[in-house]
Symmetry: C2
Subunit: 199 residues, 2 copies
C-alpha cells in the first residue's frame, strides 16, 4: 500500500528522477522539504524556476549565465588572451576553485562521443574557432577530461586550431597529489614518468 | 571568481542546503535541473509547493497525508486492532515494503532526546494514548530504531501503556539477514543469542 498521499509520493518521485539519487535519498530529501517552512519551500521552488528561466549561454565562452556575458568574461581582471577549453560548466567551477587561473574559458558542453551520437557539431566547437579567428589569443589550454572521449575531443580541436599558429597546451597528466604510487594505474604512471620535471 | 551567474549559484546553494548533499552533488543536481525542459523544471517546482502546502498529519495515525486520513488508515483492508509505533514517516514506508504487515501505524515524529531538547510532549505520544483509550486495540508493536534514544522512547511509551493491559511487543533484535557474524557487534550478537528460537 502507498504509505503516503499522492502529493508526497510525487515529490519523492521527482527527487528520485535526479541523477545519483536513489529511493531512500529521495525520501529523505522530500521529507526535509516537507519539514521546511512554507516560505522556505516556496523559495526552493522559485530558485528552480528562476534559475531555469533565466539561464542561457555566455555569448563569448558559452558558460551558463543569466546575463549576456558570464561573470568571468565580463571581468576586466581576466586575461582575454588565454582560453581554457573545458567540456562542462562544472569544470569551470573546479578550475576557479584553484584561484590560480586568470584567463578565460570556453565551454564545449560535452565531448565527441560516437556511441552517444554526439559529433563535433553538437558541441560549441565552431564558437571556439570563431573566437580564435576574431579575438587576439596567445594560448589555448585543452582541459577536457583525461579519458578516451575527452582526449579524442582535445586532439580533434587541436588539429582544427593548427592553422592559427597559436600555442595549444594540454593539462599535465600524472599521479594525483596525495595519491599513492601503489594504487596508480600503469597508464597514469607512464604519463607521470614521461612528464617528469627537473628540480 | 563566481563561475556562474547569481541564479545558478542560488540554485546550487539550495540543493547544498539539503541533508546529505555536498557541494559537488549540489552542482550536479542543479545542472541536471537546468538541462530539463522549462515544463519539467516547473513541474519539479510545483511538486515542492504542492506537497508542502497540502501536507498535514493523518488525524488517526499522524503519518503525513494531504487528506484527513492517510491511505492506510482510510483502508478497510487493514486491521485496526494492531498499531505499529514508529518514529518517522519513512519507517512506515520501510515496513510497507515488506508487504506483510496488515495493521495500522502510529507516527511519533521523533524520539525522546534530552540532548536535542525533545521531550515526550514534542512527540505524538498523547495522540497514541488517546487512540489506545478510545479504539479497540489488541497489540501495540514498538518499532522505534534499535538505538539508545529509540529504545528509551519505546520503554517510556510501553510504561505509559501498561495500565491499558494490552499486548505490547518490540521488534526482534538479531543479526541482519545476509549479514556476517564476524562483523556483528557484541551487543547485537548477545541479543541474537538471547532471542534464539527453536527449529
Amino acid at each position: 500500500m502507498r504509505a503516503f498521499s499522492a502529493n508526497v509520493e510525487r515529490l519523492i518521485e521527482k527527487f528520485e528522477s535526479l541523477p545519483g539519487i536513489g529511493h531512500k535519498s529521495a525520501q529523505r530529501l522530500a521529507f526535509y522539504i516537507l519539514g521546511l517552512s512554507d516560505a522556505e519551500a516556496e523559495d526552493f521552488a522559485a530558485a528552480i524556476v528562476e534559475a531555469k528561466h533565466g539561464v542561457r549561454q555566455c555569448s563569448i565562452c558559452c558558460n551558463l549565465s543569466d546575463t549576456e556575458l558570464c561573470p568571468i568574461c565580463a571581468s576586466d581582471t581576466r586575461d582575454p588572451r588565454t582560453i581554457c577549453v573545458v567540456s562542462d560548466p562544472r569544470d569551470v567551477a573546479a578550475i576557479e576553485r584553484t584561484h590560480e587561473y586568470a584567463g578565460r574559458y570556453h565551454v564545449l558542453h560535452g565531448v565527441i562521443s560516437p556511441i552517444n551520437h554526439i559529433g563535433p557539431d553538437e558541441l560549441r566547437i565552431k564558437e571556439l574557432i570563431r573566437r580564435v579567428g576574431t579575438e587576439d589569443i596567445d594560448e589555448i589550454i585543452m582541459a577536457t577530461d583525461p579519458d578516451t572521449e575527452g582526449e579524442a575531443t582535445a586532439m580533434y580541436i587541436a588539429r582544427l586550431l593548427r592553422p592559427f599558429h597559436i600555442k595549444i597546451t594540454r593539462l599535465a597528466y600524472g599521479i594525483p597529489v596525495g595519491g599513492h604510487l601503489e594504487y596508480s594505474d600503469e597508464v597514469t604512471l607512464l604519463r607521470a614518468l614521461d612528464g617528469r620535471r627537473e628540480y
